[in-house]
């Protein structure tokens, strides 16, 4: 069981961003994707999720054998893909409690047992406590007036409640101070297990101190140019990205 991306080409109106992108993330593993700005990391995340602004020119993305390319965003989500956004948007008037509940009930099939409100709130409060989100936030509108740290923790709360098969965390560490970072990372680590595959997209090594990846990939020019173990991340931290550009410019 894996998320298998093969020869994916994705473009926006002005230009091609992902170029024959290949990646396989088996369930149970955490893969980190690092790279300088503008190499297509966020594009990968959004294209997988079916964002309408991105055109898939060719290639495929199989989630446990099911093709995701061409499907509607909510269908992709219900198949088991979760995207933790880099810039989560505000939804005024829609409370966190109601929003997550709507997301959960959208997944229930008619023959599933009835949704239990008490079970729901029990799980919700437990996760909120773990993520140090005050319980009053259940009545707050999603992301409205939230600080950067609160938004990211809210993303992880949704991740924890929805239990996807595969999660893509798009620069989840951006804008976080050390303490918030630790809380978020611990939340993600708590999710880790044989039933989920996780892609962590990040610029910086420091998140990977808390979420130790099984595999590290370097992305440049719309594709993965190098893969390795956790030590690759440390190497990047030591040397920066300049060597990547130099070594792989010829390919791009």
């Amino acid at each position: 069981m894996s998320l298998e991306i093969q020869n994916l080409n994705v473009s926006i109106p002005e230009r091609q961003i992902l170029k024959d992108f290949n990646l396989t993330v088996p369930k149970g593993e955490v893969h980190a994707i690092m790279g300088p700005n503008g190499t297509g990391k966020s594009t990968l995340a959004k294209a997988l999720a079916g964002h309408p602004d991105y055109t898939v020119n060719s290639g495929s993305a199989l989630l446990d054998g099911t093709e995701l390319i061409g499907l509607e965003p909510d269908v992709i989500a219900r198949l088991g893909l979760f995207l933790a956004f880099q810039y989560p948007v505000e939804i005024p008037g829609v409370t966190i409690a109601n929003f997550i509940r709507a997301a959960i009930t959208a997944r229930l099939k008619k023959n599933d047992s009835e949704f239990s409100a008490t079970g729901y709130y029990k799980a919700l409060y437990a996760k909120m406590d773990e993520l140090k989100i005050p319980r009053e936030f259940t009545a707050r509108s999603v992301n409205e007036g939230f600080s950067g740290g609160e938004k990211k923790r809210c993303e992880i709360l949704q991740l924890a409640m929805l239990k996807p098969a595969y999660a893509v965390l798009d620069e989840t560490d951006s804008g976080l101070d050390i303490d918030a970072l630790r809380v978020v990372a611990e939340g993600v680590e708590a999710m880790r297990g044989p039933d989920i595959g996780i892609i962590v997209i990040t610029h910086y090594q420091r998140l990977l101190n808390y979420i130790k990846p099984d595999v590290v990939h370097v992305m440049y020019g719309g594709r993965i140019v190098k893969s390795g173990g956790p030590e690759l991340a440390l190497d990047l931290e030591a040397r920066g990205y300049a060597w990547v550009e130099k070594e792989f410019d010829v390919l791009v």
Binding site: F82, P88, V89, P92, G93, F99
Partner: protein
């Protein structure tokens, strides 16, 4: 399913099927003034009701004013010219036009289903039955009320049985010459409520217009007068979320509220007339010293609604409030707003208006706030927010704020927004289908106001908004 599949899917064409003119219906009336309007119509009405002479004179005077007044000027919708006055019966009583259940459009039946309207109410709402049997639910409340000295009767009964109170206030809040359509109502009004709450009585339960629907008259020219004596409190609810079958193209009601010293009146309306109806309503309340009048208004139906609930703040420290939600779908125009007339020191008024325009629907906000020169320490706060769903939806805002004097303050905020692509994508990424995502966003937009509606309405209203949203995406 994809957005394009949703829009190609067969959705009930609500505007066409609600065109009532295509249906034949039985007529069974004891009283029928026939079509057209003249002094003879007035005489017919007064004779049928056995009204006193002063009312007959009042009505005839109103008819003259109605005939003399020109149509509303260039500020108003030109659609008004499409009201076919010749086809309107201005007085019909003790009976109702009915049709067979087969003739009821499928989309209306579907709406009943979706809103969970009780079976026994559907036949009445759909115009299949002439009467709604609410006697049982009403009678116990009636007992409770009469023990407290509360009067809750039809306007006719009010005139006949309680002439002193009735005559004292009737036509005082909305004078006979206020506007063309209130003059029309003054000439031919029938039905509506007359309510008097004695001093100090604070009603725990709201009074519902619904209880009176099986009374004799057609609902088109209702006249309601509510007097809350000193220190009393009450809430009145009218209308329902289920679409109501309405043969008459013109609905022109007048509502007068009087809140005496320290009293509080809340008037809640949910309007969902069928899409052929011109709904032209004049509503105004007077708030005396330390009193409060609060209008909570939701307009979802009708072809054209023109309604500007107003409060005249006549006593010191009086408070006026209008909370309004309007939803305009294809072919609809919700022209709503408020008037706050400050006439004493230390008065305050609050207007919150939220409108949603879907498809070719048009929402208009008109607000008048007046604080004259001689007053002090008056405050108004106005917030009008519009949400446009489609690229061809339309909204207009016409605030008219006239403030003079010292120490008065007025605050006006307006916004126009649309549900952003990013919001929809975010919600869909959580597995929520597109239609539901739109509904969530739209319900979120009106959420603050929705909370002010009594529970019975707010649950149904949310479902109704979901229904209106369907087929609007894409």
């Amino acid at each position: 399913m994809s957005a394009s599949e949703i829009s190609q899917q067969e959705t009930p064409d609500i505007s066409a099927e609600r065109d009532v003119g295509n249906f034949s219906y039985k007529t069974e009336y004891d009283f029928d003034a026939g079509k057209g309007l003249s002094e003879a119509t007035i005489d017919y009405i007064c004779d049928a009701k056995g009204e006193p002479d002063w009312m007959r004179e009042f009505r005839k005077k109103a008819l003259k004013i109605y005939n003399d007044k020109p149509m509303p000027g260039s500020w108003a919708s030109t659609d008004l010219a499409n009201i076919d006055m010749d086809r309107i019966s201005f007085y019909m009583a003790k009976g109702r036009q009915t049709r067979s259940w087969d003739e009821v459009p499928q989309d209306i039946k579907d709406t009943f289903e979706r809103l969970g309207v009780p079976e026994k109410e559907r036949a009445f709402l759909a115009g299949v039955e002439a009467q709604f049997d609410s006697e049982s639910s009403y009678s116990s409340m009636k007992e409770e009320l009469s023990k407290q000295g509360v009067i809750f009767v039809t306007s006719s009964e009010g005139l006949m049985k309680y002439p002193e109170i009735f005559r004292k206030w009737f036509g005082k809040v909305i004078p006979i010459g206020d506007n063309k359509y209130s003059a029309l109502n003054s000439a031919v009004f029938s039905g509506g409520s007359f309510i008097y709450i004695p001093k100090g009585v604070k009603l725990k339960q709201p009074l519902q217009a619904y209880f009176r629907i099986n009374a004799e008259e057609m609902g088109q020219f209702e006249r309601t007068l509510i007097i809350a004596d000193e220190g009393s409190e009450m809430m009145y609810m009218e209308g329902c979320t289920a679409p109501q079958y309405e043969t008459s193209a013109l609905h022109s009601a007048v509502v007068e509220l009087v809140a005496l010293k320290g009293a509080r009146i809340q008037y809640v309306t949910v309007q969902n007339w069928s899409n052929n109806v011109f709904n032209l309503v004049t509503k105004r309340g007077i708030a005396m010293e330390d009193a409060e009048v609060r209008w909570i208004d939701c307009n979802i139906g009708s072809r054209l609604t023109m309604k500007y609930p107003a409060v005249v703040l006549r006593g010191e420290r009086a408070r006026g409030e209008v909370l309004s939600i309007a939803l305009a779908n294809d072919g609809q125009h919700q022209d709503t707003g408020s008037k706050m007339i400050h006439a004493a020191d230390h008065t305050s008024s609050n207007i919150i208006s939220k409108s949603i325009s879907i498809g070719t629907g048009r929402s208009t906000y008109r607000g008048m706030v007046q604080i004259p020169r001689h007053l002090k320490h008056c405050r108004n706060n106005t917030e009008c927010d519009a949400l446009l769903i489609n690229t061809n939806s339309r909204t207009d805002t016409y605030p008219a704020i006239v403030v003079r004097g010292e120490g008065n303050s007025v605050q006006h905020e307006a916004s126009v927004s649309k549900v952003s692509e990013e919001q929809i994508f975010y919600m869909r990424q959580r597995g929520i289908p597109e239609n539901e995502a739109m509904s969530l966003a739209v319900n979120g937009f009106v959420n603050d106001l929705m909370r002010e509606f009594p529970m019975e309405y707010s649950v149904e209203l949310r479902r109704l908004i979901d229904l209106e949203m369907e087929g609007s995406v894409g």
